[in-house]
């Protein structure tokens, strides 16, 4: 029983972490230019 509770709490914490990362990435404008990364990836420097 307690294993389940522990696992649930763990999932929630990790899930929330990922969620906040997502929020940060949207707010810092990383989704504004969707075509760019395709090409920048191939640059040498």
């Amino acid at each position: 029983m307690w294993t389940i509770v522990f696992l649930i709490i763990l999932t929630i914490v990790i899930g929330l972490g990922a969620y906040f990362l997502f929020l940060w990435s949207v707010k810092s404008g990383q989704y504004d230019d969707v075509e760019g990364p395709k090409y920048r990836m191939m640059d040498d420097d």
Partner: protein, 807 residues
């Protein structure tokens, strides 16, 4: 055929410019290209040439390449940072592929003083940060110009800012819904297993409570706009997609809470999934929306910002166009744009009024003639008195017509919404029916109510929100590959409803500029080559479009040096070669020069009846040849019209050109309905009249004079080489000047519509089939989940079938 190393355009042997690079002789078409190539080489950025993919080859615009850019237009957009740091957003025009973006960024980054430069690949906007102590804005602008790109001031319109904010908001809501739903699914699967395997009650309650906690934000945060819209819609008894979603997800939500408290099975996953999938559909719609703005205010860029005021006894002063008013006297030099509507008082010239008529044939202007603001003054210097201030010019009128048409344009209701319109009442009726029947049968009120609600829960199709956006996304991508830029989601559905097409003539059906159709030799000692040589040697001194046509046809021929060249606007050109007078021009010009025009070898009235212009070439006292010039019909136009006649009943041609030429073109294409000499607002009215008789019109045009009609029509299509104004007023832009794209557009839209219909059907058929199970009271969450999954998969795979559409 030698190709310019930089712009890839073919160069004739006698025009090529060579330069030495790393012991190789490299060919160029002009000094502009050579200059850019040098810069790219010195900066070590030659991989640009390996990376680039240009669909069409164009020079970096020749003479305009080094046109000075007005810095003051940019200065108001500079933002100050810490210390000497300044930032600015600039739009870079002429970017044609990813390599161009890369080149701009690299060149800027290598420049001393630039702290950062980042160009957005999608919107071509550059964000530049620089140290104002080391480099000035002017130097930065010049740098961009020097590699062949055109920087323009970038100002986000209010509407655009709002749109960006909404997109971000949608993305966050969607992302939240996805995260929470993913977590929710984990617990849901545990619960499913538990329902079949006798899960321990306490654990079941715990898991269900967690499911409740996860679902609540999805419904009330991510799904908040839907709830708001539903409440608004209920006021007018208006059922749309949002109503369906809200009813479906809320009923599942509250039903599950009830079940939670009485030990039944919960449907939180259905509830959350409905919202999540709809948000996915909305997000696809939002990203598929085109980047092209509908900023009609760019039309004002056509009017120059400054004019030359003439004051007696002094030099001309430069004043802003906005301060011109009736009675002011202005001077316009050859090659300049006319600042505002005016009447000529001194001088004679020819102007290009293609923005009003669509015809690039120059119009002769002399004392008393009206010159139009925004048109181009071709070859004479004139002084004129201002008639209308800048906001009352004919161009401003055109802008007004466009804006009015835009405000009148209704947003059509797409098929999915229509289906929802009658689906919601049906579902509610079925639910009520179930409730009543169950009540009669079991006499248990709570049980009946719950069964009734379960009918609503299962009947709500969640992939309905995906049906249309997905199909449209795939259709739009396919269209772009073929060369059709579609500016919005519901335009494909609109195209399907079209039953009439209106064509502009010049530039759309025809090539747009006059060409030499035939050369008739009068003096048999000359041949075609020598006639062209003589003609071009004279005509190269003129900017007239007929002159350009003659010079085009004589490329590769060595031209002769003609002395004492005189250009007579509206009549012709004359000069001296070996002490003989050579003249080229119209009939009147020949008569003025004493050339006899009787005993001509042809019945020239026959040619003129067909709408051709005749240009006569004379040497000394005798006529040498007659050149037949006309605007030629594009070959693809014939094929395209034939194809279109199969599915469209009404085809019309509206032209600003004269009746004779329009008649000829119309008869060549087999089109019986045509109108000529139409002003822009007349074209617009024509379309408005047809549409008030319940026809849906597609307008195809390319000029500024087509802009009001493009907006007025149900669907507006602009040609590739059209003016920026036309492209902004149109719903669809062709990237190739091939009219055969139109039948292709039609068949794509028919197919897409069929698939949307199929998608909609598949999205609710499984749910409807499961309704009887709910009516009996045997609904299980796993049935709801299965229906959802199958319908989503069907919708997605079916939408992919659009990619197989045709040629």
């Amino acid at each position: 055929m030698i190709r310019c190393e930089h712009c890839q355009l073919p160069v004739f042997e006698n025009e090529v410019i060579y330069a030495e690079f790393a012991d190789k002789r490299v060919p160029f078409c002009c000094h502009g290209c050579k200059g850019v190539y040098e810069i790219i080489n010195t900066e070590g950025l030659t991989s640009f040439y390996e990376q680039r993919q240009w669909d069409d080859n164009t020079k970096p615009k020749g003479k305009e390449l080094f046109k000075p850019v007005q810095i003051n237009h940019f200065e108001e957009f500079v933002k100050d940072g810490d210390g000497n740091v300044k930032t600015i957003n600039i739009y870079i025009d002429n970017i044609r592929c990813a390599a161009c973006v890369w080149l701009n960024e690299k060149i800027l980054l290598k420049t001393k003083g630039i702290i950062s430069a980042r160009v957005n690949y999608a919107s071509h906007n550059a964000f530049i940060v620089w140290d104002s102590n080391v480099i000035t804005l002017k130097e930065i602008i010049d740098k961009i110009v020097s590699i062949g790109y055109q920087p323009k001031p970038y100002q986000e319109s209010e509407a655009f800012k709002i749109q960006k904010k909404e997109e971000r908001d949608l993305l966050i809501r969607f992302g939240t819904a996805v995260f929470l739903s993913s977590q929710l699914m984990v617990y849901t699967i545990a619960l499913y297993a538990g329902y079949f395997q006798d899960i321990d009650v306490d654990t079941k309650i715990v898991l269900e409570i967690i499911a409740l906690i996860l679902t609540t934000p999805v419904i009330f945060y991510s799904g908040l706009p839907f709830i708001k819209n539903t409440i608004n819609g209920l006021r007018h008894l208006h059922f749309n997609m949002d109503t369906l979603i809200t009813v479906g997800s809320l009923s599942a939500y509250f039903f599950s809470i009830y079940q939670l408290s009485t030990g039944g099975k919960v449907y939180f996953d259905t509830s959350a999934m409905i919202v999540t999938l709809i948000l996915l559909g909305r997000y696809i719609e939002a990203t598929a929306k085109s980047k092209a703005t509908e900023d009609i205010n760019r039309l004002y860029e056509l009017l120059p910002t400054e004019a030359r005021l003439v004051t007696a006894g002094q030099d001309d002063t430069i004043i802003p166009v906005k301060s011109l008013s009736r009675g002011h006297r202005i001077r316009v030099l050859p090659g300049e744009r006319i600042p505002t509507d005016a009447i000529v008082v001194i001088g004679e010239t020819e102007t290009d009024e293609s923005m009003i008529t669509g015809e690039s044939k120059p119009i002769y202007k002399t004392c008393g003639s009206l010159i139009i603001g925004g048109s181009i003054n071709l070859n004479g210097s004139i002084v004129a008195d201002v008639l209308n201030s800048f906001d009352k010019t004919m161009l401003s009128d055109i802008i007004r017509f466009v804006k009015e048409a835009q405000s009148r344009k209704p947003n059509i209701q797409n098929l999915a919404d229509k289906v929802v319109g009658f689906l919601v009442p049906i579902i509610l009726t079925l639910a009520t029916l179930t409730g009543i029947l169950q009540l009669l049968y079991s006499k248990d009120f709570t049980y009946s109510l719950m069964t009734a609600i379960s009918v609503v829960v299962i009947a709500c199709p969640c992939s309905l929100g995906l049906a249309t956006p997905l199909a449209i996304l795939i259709a739009t991508t396919k269209a772009t590959q073929k060369g059709l830029l579609i500016k919005g989601g519901n335009i494909i559905e609109k195209v399907r409803a079209i039953d009439s097409i209106v064509f502009d003539k010049t530039g759309t059906l025809t090539k747009g500029s006059p060409m030499i159709k035939d050369i008739i030799l009068v003096d048999q000692t000359f041949n075609r080559q020598s006639v062209l040589q003589l003609s071009a040697s004279l005509e190269r001194h003129s900017e007239h479009c007929i002159a350009k046509a003659i010079c085009e046809s004589s490329r590769g021929i060595d031209l002769l040096e003609i002395l004492s060249v005189e250009i007579k606007p509206g009549r012709g050109i004359r000069g001296l070669l070996n002490d003989e007078i050579i003249a080229i021009g119209n009939r009147q010009f020949m008569l003025e020069n004493g050339i006899k025009l009787d005993n001509l070898p042809i019945h020239n009235s026959q040619f003129e009846k067909e709408g051709n212009s005749l240009i006569f070439l004379s040497k000394g006292a005798s006529l040498i040849a007659i050149l037949v010039i006309s605007d030629i019909l594009k070959e693809e136009s014939v094929e395209a019209i034939k194809e279109l006649k199969k599915s469209i009943g009404h085809i019309h041609i509206l032209s600003g050109d004269n009746t004779v030429t329009t008649n000829v073109i119309a008869s060549k294409l087999g089109i019986s309905s045509f109108l000529a000499e139409m002003m822009p607002q007349q074209k617009q009215e024509f379309i408005r009249n047809i549409q008030s008789n319940n026809h849906k019109v597609m307008m195809i045009g390319d000029g500024i004079n087509d802009a009001p009609s493009l907006k007025e029509a149900y669907v507006g299509v602009s040609m590739a080489k059209g003016t920026t104004v036309a492209m902004e007023s149109a719903d669809i832009v062709l990237t190739r000047d091939d009219l055969r794209l139109i039948p292709m557009l039609l068949s794509l839209s028919y197919k897409t519509y069929r698939i949307i219909r199929q998608n909609i059907f598949m999205s609710f058929i499984y749910n409807i089939l499961a309704v009887p199970i709910a009516m009996i009271g045997l609904l299980h969450p796993i049935i709801a989940a299965t229906a959802m999954a199958i319908s989503s998969i069907c919708v997605v795979t079916n939408s992919l079938r659009i990619r197989k559409c045709g040629r």
